[in-house]
């Protein structure tokens, strides 16, 4: 799987460059078409956002529309998975309607993804700002902890922690969120390093602003746009990580509907006779991650000064 870690490491550079460009005075910003026009032209982003919105709609409204609950069993199709007009996506080995489970799975997946991203970004901003602003031993301590955590490959650490805390929807959400904090701390810290040298901070300080005021009135608000960008970039990875953990049996526990878990364990014995068990959850999962990645891709393009220059005359 595309790992959280290395993706984020390369993101650090990208985001820092991007934020610096956004903050550059008007005359120094790369010339080109305005952001809004380019957004409008960028079909990639529109498609991605469309997919995500559709999935969000399915997650919010879908469970009320589909014929059965994700857990209700249809007695005649019990044991023998079958495909019929009543069950267009088929039923699983317990006679549950796969369409209903896929739809409810959207809720599980997006709920975990969005909450986890929020936790990760808020935590990352908090520790990043503290670490970057205070420097000294606070920074040293936080950075050493971050270093230790990111030196364990993400999926390996997630499996160990997940096995340690036991799997439930709440635990998986918290776990993914907390494990996202260290790498985001690094990104935010590097931004704060340059931010705190800005003139307005010096001005505020010379007016007698306290640390508390500088932090809460000036520095935290200054990372809000960055936080939005980071959240968008991280969403796809979070959804993928949840699915992978659930697939391995240490994520969302049965009988909760989860795209990852529905393809794993005992269900695999039935794939040969009921391929729809593997196909539909996989399509839903891939589509959602694709949507998130397309949006992330567009944001990267929009904030990357380099992407603009590529348009003209490299060849």
């Amino acid at each position: 799987m595309p790992g959280l870690t290395h993706e984020c490491v390369s993101q650090e550079e990208e985001v820092r460059e991007a934020v610096e460009t956004l903050e550059a005075p008007e005359e120094l910003r790369p010339r080109g078409i305005s952001l809004r026009t380019r957004m409008g032209r960028n079909m990639t982003g529109v498609i991605g956002a469309g997919i995500l919105l559709f999935m969000l709609f399915v997650a919010l409204v879908g469970p009320y529309i589909v014929p059965d609950g994700p857990l209700s069993q249809d007695a005649p199709s019990f044991v023998k998975p079958s495909l019929s007009l009543d069950h267009p996506f088929g039923t699983d080995r317990l006679g549950r309607d796969v369409l209903s489970r896929v739809v409810s799975g959207a809720r599980t997946s997006l709920q975990i993804g969005i909450i986890a991203v929020t936790i990760a970004v808020l935590g990352g901003c908090f520790f990043g700002v503290i670490s970057g602003y205070f420097g000294g031993w606070v920074d040293y301590l936080i950075q050493r902890i971050v270093e230790v955590i990111i030196s364990i490959p993400a999926l390996i650490l997630l499996i160990v922690v997940s096995a340690a805390v036991g799997s439930s929807v709440r635990n998986v959400t918290l776990l993914l969120g907390v494990m996202g904090i260290p790498i985001l701390t690094r990104v935010v810290r590097s931004i704060i390093f340059s931010e705190k040298e800005q003139l307005y901070i010096e001005a505020a300080r010379s007016l007698g602003a306290t640390n508390k005021r500088l932090l809460f009135v000036h520095l935290f608000p200054s990372v809000i746009p960055l936080a939005g960008i980071l959240a968008a970039l991280a969403l796809g990875g979070m959804i993928l990580a949840e699915a992978a953990l659930s697939f391995l049996g240490v994520g969302v526990p049965p009988p909760n509907p989860s795209w990852g878990a529905d393809m794993s364990g005992n269900a695999r014995d039935y794939f040969q006779h009921a391929p729809w068990l593997a196909i539909f959850p996989g399509i839903a999962l891939s589509l959602t991650i694709l949507g998130a990645n397309l949006v992330a891709e567009t944001i990267r393009d929009l904030i990357d000064p380099y992407a603009q220059r590529q348009g003209v005359g490299t060849r």
Binding site: I152, L155, A164, G260, M263, Q272, G282, T314
Partner: protein, 319 residues
Amino acid sequence: MIGYIIRRLAALVPILIGVSIIVFVLTRLMPGNIAQIMCGPNCEPEQLASLEHEYGLDKPKLEQFTDWVSGAVRGDLGRSFLRDRPVADEILDRLPVTGQLLIMTVMASAALGIMNGMLSAAFHRRFLDNALRVVSIFGMSVPTFWVATLVILLPSLWFAYAPPFTAVGLLENPWDNLRQFGPPALVLGFSSSCGLSRVVRGSILGVLNQDFMRTARAKGLGEATILRRHALGNVMLPIITVIGMEVATLMGGAVIAETVFNLNGLGRLFMESALMRDYPVIQVMTLYTAAIFVTLSLLVDLAYAWLDPRVRLTGGRSA
């Protein structure tokens, strides 16, 4: 240079100590222990106590930690509770499987990634470029465990094909061995080549309009030669970084691929141990993975210095 390597190696020590503490604490946080699992649901308290004593779980936590660390430093990695044999033996038994898988994966990933990235750059903003970029963003979005599942499922449905079920060594029967390792290596390799091809594309586009490229063109070299000889050499550094970091994430990928493709390697060992609370194995494997990861990033930094004379290595760490 030597001084730099020594400083960097020294900086690894506190990191690995930190990792070992984290892993130890985590494994002790796990609800239930191996004694309870071995003892089963109808467990007598005395039986449980004697099992816990046998596994050394009744000792104070601090003593368990110091025992483990002092053992690990002396090369004694402890015994697996579950399999009742030294962890080192268990790991060595499975290493060839995961080793072969990872080597083949990295080869597939590098080949696909560099080829697609170069093609994309050469046909910048034309059809092939766009097509390859769509493929790469699809490849990054589709989970490996699903692709792997389909790679097993679809041929079995359509052609009633199944790879050989029992493990075969590469030297015993190369054909059967490749039928076992080829698909997982290709699935993992393709997935990680997607990130790589984007880096290759971006870096090549970055050097394409530099002066030395114009010179090469002026000399009358063909585009293909220019790309291969002049552009690729100049973008080796980011490529090496990405491949180096990939290996680390591939260890996570190995867990998934070995589970789906039923390969008896380190990934499976890790997963089984995590589910059965086999502490010694989890501790050692996590620590080793972290050690390999930090060593790889050190090697990547050194490769930079070696390949690019402009890089000067200073300072203790590249923060």
